[in-house]
């Protein structure tokens, strides 16, 4: 089977996936080492992880990454040989290196420029190395490229490299290894041994038949030479002739290119699926094919039982399709631990930054969520946790005064409940001060002075856009912050956010998420002669428009009266640029949707029905369309666009929905 570019990039993709896991392993182990600094197995696992990344990086030609990882690996090697102690400072340097590694991995994967700070990080590592026992044999292969002469004596070696036959199939190029080898020294001469090369007509082009003999004058040690072959060593034969015994004490045992691989999947581009599941899916597809045949034969049949057979076939299809849907959706599920995994580190760093003492409890990491949800959850959860640490948990002194334990408690919990995934973030900190919220809301005009709001409604105000004040925005990452963004993001994946709090006791935020992003409940509507779908979750209510409830308000456009409130009305056919011969609003339906720009009424011509729709993205082949969140295939095979109520509302109200609501209300 020929290797395509897709295969090659898949090998690379596998490298990046595994490298991400290695970095995660490193981080976990480093964090664990803080509480048990003498656990040698932990140190070993960090070393092995770095070593694997270095090997792979070299193999695929990612020089920056390999070079940096090499320095890191050298320091780790020192540690695991017991020649350096894991002091808190060293731990910090290593943890930061893990971050730098992630940045370098991203840069390599996206073929982007080297991220800032790599040089500085590298210097920190090298300083660490020099601080302990001099820089002897510190840098081996990668420094040698810069022309530093090692402390070894220069000698002539003959290195024989016989790549494994399957090297090409792994997406590796032995010429790159040879090149790396040559960089270790000078006066290099390469001879290719073609004796195993079969006749052209018998050649299998994906098998490597070549053998290389390299003469080299080098000061690098044997182990430094073998280092070059790290990633291919398990499938190749390497021999070094005329070696001089290495001056360094003790060669470390070759661990091979395998390190512990955790079972979580962290990238969004590939999935690991059990073969059992694949088999199940294949069976179900087989059943569908059979059902198709049943239909065709029933259609062709003249016999009286043809209708019955058709019906049976239709039922079989329905059954199998539903099961298939479930199985395939299951493929998209990943354990929520994928998202939770970063939080021990986040909490540690933030607690240190804000001077708080915090213990993080994580529960339900195995709870499965849709992988599309994974990326979407990360930022909101981070924001919630940050809030808990910054504003929630009090400083140790204050807590002592209040009679609370010095260490604040933050809980992250996930569970399946009632067909949804529930994620809870709670803390035992100061809780929400409802009075302060009221003051702030009054001050920023979000609340009318005479409006009587209960506690729940007041707390919900923290989700209103514009509520976050400068005092609360402590994140300088430049990303959108504020609870309104959190709410929008969660709602964007079909979730619901709610919170409860008790002053002085703590705060509890609950995210209720659907099991999958790719399917949603939709309401099909007719607008002129076309069918569109509205997300059912966004719809508050629908009713037939009574002309007397329609008004045009200066400064707010058209509004419709809903039980005392007046909300902006959007004529969908106008919004979507569809021509209609007549607009007789008396037969139209208003669908009231709840968005972050407030409530808006969407005027459509007819409600067609409700049901689950499979969301197809428009961006793959076309591009994002303002006001649409995707498309779906309707029962008749036509494409129906799915309306994005947020987008429509934002466009129609110019983002000033609340103001228009006010203006409308005032004019009543």
């Amino acid at each position: 089977m020929p290797l395509t570019e897709k295969d090659l990039s898949r090998f690379e993709a596998t490298f990046f996936e595994e490298a991400e896991e290695h970095v995660a392993t490193m981080e976990r182990a480093l964090l664990a080492l803080e509480t048990s600094p003498d656990d040698s197995e932990l140190v070993n696992s960090v070393f092995r992880a770095a070593h694997s990344i270095k090997g792979g990086a070299g193999m695929f030609g990612f020089e920056d990454l390999a070079g940096f990882t090499h320095v890191l690996e050298t320091l780790l090697d020192r540690l695991r040989q017991g020649r350096d102690r894991l002091t808190p400072r060293v731990a910090d340097v290593l943890l930061c290196s893990a971050d730098t590694l992630r940045g370098l991995l991203d840069a390599a994967r996206l073929r982007g420029p080297e991220p800032p700070g790599v040089g500085a990080m590298r210097e920190s590592l090298e300083r660490e190395l020099d601080a302990v026992g001099g820089g002897a044999n510190a840098h081996g292969a990668y420094q040698a490229r810069d022309g530093h002469a090692g402390p070894q004596e220069v000698r002539d070696v003959e290195v024989t490299f016989e790549p494994g036959r399957e090297l090409f199939a792994r997406g590796m190029d032995p010429l790159l290894v040879v090149r790396d080898l040559l960089s270790l020294g000078e006066a290099g001469r390469v001879r290719s041994d073609l004796s195993s090369l079969p006749d052209l007509d018998a050649l299998d082009p994906e098998v490597c038949y070549l053998r290389f003999v390299v003469d080299l004058r080098t000061a690098a040690s044997d182990s430094a030479i073998r280092d070059v072959f790290a990633f291919v060593e398990d499938v190749s034969k390497i021999a070094i002739a005329r070696p001089v015994p290495a001056a360094e004490g003790g060669t470390f045992a070759r661990e091979g290119a395998r390190a512990e691989v955790t079972k979580t999947v962290t990238t969004a581009t590939t999935v690991r699926v059990s073969t059992e599941k694949i088999d199940k899916i294949i069976d179900l597809v087989g059943e569908l094919v059979i059902a198709e045949t049943m239909i065709l034969s029933a259609l062709a049949s003249e016999q009286p039982d043809a209708r019955v057979r058709l019906r049976d076939a239709a039922e079989a299809i329905g059954r199998n399709t539903r099961e298939l849907q479930e199985e395939v959706m299951g493929v998209r599920m990943v354990p929520v631990g994928t998202v939770f995994g970063r939080f021990p580190r986040v909490v540690r760093d933030l607690a240190a930054k804000f001077g708080k003492a915090i213990v993080l409890h994580v529960e339900g990491e195995d709870t499965e969520i849709d992988r599309g949800m994974v990326e979407q959850l990360a930022d909101p959860l981070t924001h919630l946790v940050r809030n808990a640490i910054d504003h929630g948990i009090e400083s140790p002194e204050v807590r002592a005064e209040l009679g609370k334990p010095a260490e604040g408690r933050i809980g992250l919990r996930a569970a399946h409940q009632g067909g949804r995934v529930v994620v809870d973030v709670d803390d035992d900190g100061a809780g929400l001060n409802v009075e302060r919220i009221r003051e702030k809301a009054l001050a920023s005009g979000l609340l009318d002075a005479d409006a009587d709001q209960d506690e729940q409604a007041l707390m919900a105000l923290i989700f209103a856009p514009g509520f976050s004040t400068a005092k609360e925005i402590t994140d300088v990452s430049g990303r959108g912050v504020g609870m309104d963004v959190v709410k929008r993001t969660i709602e964007g994946v079909g979730g619901v956010i709610s919170l409860s709090s008790e002053l002085g006791k703590g705060t509890h935020v609950r995210l209720s998420l659907p099991l999958t992003t790719a399917i949603m409940d939709g309401l099909s509507v007719r607008i002129a002669d076309q069918t569109f779908v509205l997300p059912l979750l966004s719809i508050v209510e629908s009713f037939r428009l009574k002309p007397e409830h329609l008004k045009t308000v200066l400064g707010a456009g058209e509004v419709v009266r809903v039980r005392g409130d007046a909300i902006p009305l959007v004529r969908m056919h106008r919004e979507l640029g569809i021509d209609v011969e007549s607009t007789d609003p008396s037969r139209s339906i208003v669908c009231v949707v709840d968005t972050s720009s407030g409530r808006v009424g969407l005027l459509v011509d007819e409600l067609l029905g409700q049901g689950q729709v499979v969301i197809k993205t428009l961006e793959t082949n076309y591009r994002r369309i303002d006001g649409m969140m995707g498309a779906t295939i309707a029962g008749d095979g036509r494409v129906a666009l799915i309306v994005d109520p947020q987008g429509i509302a934002r466009r129609a109200t110019g983002g000033r929905g609340k103001e228009k609501e006010h203006a409308a209300r005032e004019s009543n």
Binding site: Q530, E575, K616, N621, Y622, R623, R638, A640
Partner: protein, 177 residues
């Protein structure tokens, strides 16, 4: 960009000819995924006139570009003879509405000339060249450019971003010279 076009013009290739009005256009056969008859197209709100909408291609939502509209020819009604040519550009699958599809031509390097300076009718930036074969004049479409322009990705840089990659021009040939 001109260098690429020169290379393309210089190498032999196969081209699917399409009819549009009185004229013939050509598409690199390697880009053609399939040819479909009339399919229902769902219009996309607030989009350019030449983006006819999207269609359902066995479960995938595929945008459809009307070549008549794109090249300023008068629109005709869809009927059962209307043809949609499904092409791939990078990772995108796009449909092009044409009047008809005719044969596949083998073009050698001598058959193709650079696009002439036309009048206003055809946007010559969408052409990679013109092929002459007996009495026929086939205008060779730059499908990548056409599609990327239609979806709003426009620029040549987008070629890499769309996953086309650096090796689109790789060719392996053995000829008697």
């Amino acid at each position: 960009m001109p260098l690429e076009k020169a290379t393309e013009a210089a190498t032999a290739r196969q081209v699917l000819t399409l009819g549009l009005g009185d004229e013939e256009y050509g598409l690199d056969i390697l880009r053609v995924r399939e040819i479909k008859g009339y399919s229902v197209i769902t219009p996309i709100p607030n989009s350019p006139a030449y983006v006819k909408g999207v269609m359902n291609l066995r479960g995938t939502v595929v945008p459809v570009v009307g070549l008549r509209e794109r090249f300023g020819l008068p629109t005709v009604a869809y009927d059962k003879f209307t043809v949609i040519v499904i092409v791939t550009v990078g990772a995108r699958v796009v449909g092009l509405v044409v009047d008809a599809v005719s044969d596949v031509l083998d073009l050698g390097p001598n058959d193709v000339e650079p696009p002439p300076e036309f009048g206003a009718r055809v946007d010559t930036s969408m052409l990679t060249g013109v092929a002459k074969r007996e009495e026929r004049l086939v205008m060779l479409l730059d499908v990548e450019r056409l599609v990327l322009d239609a979806v709003g990705a426009g620029l040549p840089e987008a070629l890499t971003a769309a996953g086309v990659g650096q090796t689109t021009n790789s060719r392996l040939e053995a000829t008697a010279s």
